[in-house]
């Protein structure tokens, strides 16, 4: 019988961005991305939920020390993106449109490299209360 348990940590970052494809003309960008294409940017309170699945350690009872997970997310994700302009201030989105979909995949790759592969990792990223994404999708 599986003794696997999911543990979650929620963190927040506030950032500016715009959705824009430099390969397209302005009319196409406006048509596809609408007000999200504003050249002066807009912004969001992003909420990131990190889910780890694993077996509780017999010695601690923890799947993963959530304080350590918080430190890891802050150091690698929040410090990188909080109070930043995703398009202008981050190397990750210099040539990648900072949609919620692309942001969650970028965050996943960063965290996956830092977390032991014995844990399953899943992320949910809220861009607004009503728009959110998950990765991996299943």
């Amino acid at each position: 019988m599986s003794e696997k348990v999911a543990v979650y940590r929620r963190e927040n970052f506030n950032a500016a961005h715009r959705l824009h494809n430099p390969a397209w003309d302005e009319a196409t960008n406006d048509r596809v991305f609408g007000k999200c294409n504003n050249p002066n940017y807009h912004g969001h309170n992003y909420e990131l939920i990190v889910k780890l699945i694993g077996e509780p350690d017999p010695a601690t009872g923890y799947v993963y020390d959530l304080k350590l997970l918080s430190d890891l997310v802050k150091e690698n994700i929040i410090d990188r993106f909080d109070h930043k302009n995703l398009n202008e201030d981050t190397v990750e989105f210099k040539n990648l449109n900072p949609t919620a979909e692309n942001i969650v995949v970028v965050i996943y790759k960063i965290l996956r490299a830092k977390i032991d592969s014995k844990y399953d990792l899943k992320l949910r990223l809220y861009e607004t209360e009503r728009n959110f994404v998950e990765y991996p999708a299943n």
Binding site: N12, N14, A15, A16, H17, K35, C36, N38, N40, Y41, H42, G43, H44, N45, D82, H83, K84, N85, E88, D89, T128, E129
Partner: protein, 136 residues
Amino acid sequence: MVYITRTEHFNAAHKLYNPKWTREKNEEVFGRCANENWHGHNFELHVTIKGDPDPDTGFVYDVKKLSVIINEYVIEKLDHKNLNLDVDFMAGKMCSIENLVIAIWNQLVPHLPEGVKLHCLKLRETPKIYTEYYGD
């Protein structure tokens, strides 16, 4: 007297930066909020009006109509905008939520129908930070 509130949302970029100060002083006072290339928030605006319910409708005022007014004169000017650069009624002002809530009040009041009394604006910038303004 009954108070009724309509909630609306807008997503915007801004920075806290006083152009009269050096970059060092701005960073000292405003920290990461002074980031040159902006940052942003999902703002939530609560508009509370007050009055006695109309005997025929039971309404203090039709909140759907209130929503249309808020959207036309406030949300459309703020949503998916840069508060420092794109918003006429914030021009020349520091883009703190304190100043923004006052500016929204001044923007809204002239467009409310006679008899509709604005009681309070509550403006939330993050889950942990909000302002309230009662017009005085």
